[in-house]
């Protein structure tokens, strides 16, 4: 799998495996949710690490600069990242 999509926009956060780290490139959510994410510390340019992925399409647990967040896959898919 390439680290970025062909147009260089990054790949979904859900393509990361537990333990992998990546840089957040874009949040492709509605305005309200984007704002909510940023206030939780999830924003463009931040380094995110996947702590755990629950089985059976369960939520991801991620770490963004020391803050741990549990996030459903549907929402996580719209966070675009670049692997590092």
């Amino acid at each position: 799998m390439s680290d970025t999509s062909p147009d260089g926009r990054g790949v979904p956060l859900t393509s990361l495996l537990p333990g992998e780290r990546a840089k957040i490139i874009a949040l492709e959510h509605g305005k309200g949710r984007q704002h909510h994410f940023r206030t939780m510390g999830l924003m463009e340019g931040k380094i995110v690490k996947v702590i755990a992925a629950q089985p059976a399409r369960g939520p991801f647990v991620i770490d963004v600069e020391g803050t741990q967040i549990a996030i459903g896959r549907g929402m996580a898919r719209h966070i675009l990242i670049q692997k590092i």
Binding site: G32, T39, M40, A52, G58, Q68, I69, A70, G72
Partner: protein
């Protein structure tokens, strides 16, 4: 009196700063017309009295939720603003800080959790930050009390910011936050501590699920075993050797027989003390709440507070998320469900953490039908336990199967959305023993304050119903359902009547009927499911509205009756 508005994001230790600054005169109330709580108190700084308002914690002032609207209004009412900032998460906190500074009120910033920044390898240039924000900054550690005096004396220096221009757009604000962070903060790389490794193990499925199962098993055994030990070695000896003979003697001295005697101590005599079945206000009415239920209330809330203070509940929410999605809920719904195991009232209120009406309806209905409160569980355990653990397991497995199957159905038939989980997972914290005991005590106290009057009222009503022969009439009316369909003695109607008032005393009413363990098991399942107690009913009515409450009530009766009939066929036969 000048007003100081204490503002900040959630979980920054704002309430601790508040209680450090104020004295004893603290009032907690709802903001008019909302369910948003806030607290206010007074404080004296340099001889001048101030009113201190603890504004609800929000991440921003954009009025997208009720809490944010209230925060915005309360901020406007303040003459001086203290903005409490979490120094360990400076970046996400600064957005709110900028919004506040744009309002040009005299402001000071409290850089809280300052002591933690060193452990986390975070360097903040406070002088530079002070220059950039244009308001005074005080480093604080509210938990240990450092910096609180300095914060109070800095109130006089509060000033409107000259460096932050206003108003900014959302994008400009985030850009500015980024610039400030680049100028003032350096984060040093450090290795994972052992504590963080353990924390991670509790959310990774391979390790987290076994840990969760062990934890739940331990909690369950602790609640039951310690509760039973308190009864066996402490309460029963007190009741049998001291309280019982004494109260029977006292009542006999002024009412040796007659209505008053029966009402107060029922059929108890000095030779044959009977706390469970005598139906006296001072025998059964005191023994049920104190001698049978209270020990389990204490052990339950001790464990619940421990899990809360430790920070385990969000982790549990993550692990059960996938399963709860199948029921139209998400992981966070585990919190109201666990609270409901203590008492359905706070459980129903806690469903507010769920985002949609659909989720809240499902969570509340499932809880009201299938989650027995601790008072009820204590009685089920006491009454069925004497016939063997098998019968207790049958009751709880039936309730569990109902929870799952009803959830699977409700997910499909209830209209509305079931959004995904989004949850901040706080770091584990070492629980403070004093806070833990205080919390447990306050729960035990409020149980007694609510339970004892209702139990006594219940026993009083039972006595009246028997004396006036109403029980006989109702027994005959409901006999087709109770006897023919459910295989119970018709006298069980008294338990169903009392169950609307309180479930614990209702289960106690089953004892004098001389039922078989099979019948008791069916009756316990019926009592748990058929209708919530009156306190839970009114909370649900308020939270759901009349229409949804009617739907929930219909489900309760239907589910209870079908479950009762099926269990009758399995346990007793047709």
């Amino acid at each position: 009196m000048k007003k100081i508005a204490l503002t900040g994001c959630p979980n920054v230790g704002k309430s601790v700063v508040f209680s450090r600054l104020t004295g004893v005169n603290v009032i907690s109330s709802n903001y008019p017309g909302t369910t948003v709580d806030f607290t206010k108190g007074t404080t004296a700084i340099g001889g001048e009295k101030f009113e201190l308002i603890d504004v609800p914690g929000t991440y921003s002032l954009e009025p997208t939720s009720k809490a944010e609207e209230v925060a915005q209004t309360m901020l406007q009412e303040g003459d001086i603003v203290i903005n409490v900032v979490d120094a360990t998460h400076l970046e996400r906190n600064l957005y709110l800080t900028l919004e506040i500074l744009e309002r040009k009120k005299p402001t000071i910033v409290a850089l809280n959790l300052w002591d933690e920044t060193k452990h986390l390898g975070i360097d903040i240039d406070v002088e530079k930050l002070e220059q950039l924000l244009g308001v005074p900054i005080v480093k604080t550690c509210a938990l240990c009390g450092t910096g609180i005096k300095e914060l109070a004396s800095a109130v006089g220096d509060a000033k409107p910011s000259k460096t932050i221009e206003s108003p900014m757009s959302e994008e400009e604000r985030w850009l500015r936050v980024g610039e400030i962070i680049r100028d003032v903060q350096v984060v040093h790389h450090r290795h994972h501590t052992i504590r963080e490794r353990i924390a991670d193990a509790t959310v990774k499925p391979a390790t987290g699920i076994p840990i969760a199962i062990l934890a739940i098993l331990f909690v369950f055994l602790f609640i039951i075993e310690i509760g039973n030990a308190i009864i066996e070695y402490l309460l029963d000896p007190i009741f049998c050797n001291y309280y019982g003979p004494w109260i029977v003697g006292v009542v006999n001295s002024f009412a040796p027989s007659g209505l008053l005697h029966d009402l107060l101590i029922g059929t108890s005599t000095v030779e044959a003390l009977d706390f469970e079945q005598s139906l006296g206000i001072l025998t059964t009415g005191i023994y049920v709440p104190f001698g049978m239920v209270l020990p389990f209330i204490i052990t339950f809330y001790f464990m619940l507070s421990l899990l809360e203070d430790l920070g385990y509940l969000p982790r549990l929410a993550i692990l059960v998320d996938t399963g709860l999605h199948k029921l139209g809920l998400h992981g966070s719904a585990i919190v109201p469900t666990i609270l409901g195991c203590g008492c359905n009232v706070p459980g129903a209120l806690a469903t507010r953490i769920l985002e949609t009406k659909k989720q809240r309806f499902i969570a509340m209905t499932l809880m009201a039908i299938t989650v027995p409160c601790m008072a009820q569980s204590a009685m089920i355990i006491a009454i069925l336990g004497r016939y063997g653990i098998k019968w207790i397991l049958i009751v709880y497995s039936t309730l569990f199967v109902l929870y799952i199957s009803l959830g699977l159905v409700l997910k499909r038939v209830v209209k509305g959305e079931s959004p995904e989980l989004l949850l901040e997972v706080p770091p584990y914290r070492r629980p403070d023993p004093v806070t833990l005991l205080k919390k447990t005590w306050s729960k035990a106290y409020s149980f007694l304050a609510e339970a004892v009057p209702f139990v006594i009222l219940g026993i009083f009503i039972v006595n009246l119903l028997y004396v006036f022969g109403i029980v006989d009439v109702l027994s005959r009316v409901f006999s087709p359902i109770l006897t023919t369909l459910l295989g119970l003695p018709e006298g069980a109607i008294i338990a169903l009547i009392l169950g609307v008032l309180r479930k614990d005393i209702a289960i106690g009413m089953l004892l004098p009927l001389g039922m078989s363990p099979q019948q008791l098991t069916i009756a316990c399942i019926i009592l748990a499911t058929y209708f919530p107690c009156i306190a839970t009913f009114f909370v649900m009515l308020h939270e759901l509205g009349v229409r949804y409450m009617l739907k929930a009530a219909g489900l309760m009766v239907a589910v209870s009756l079908s479950a009762g009939i099926i269990m009758r066929m399995i346990l007793i036969g047709i």
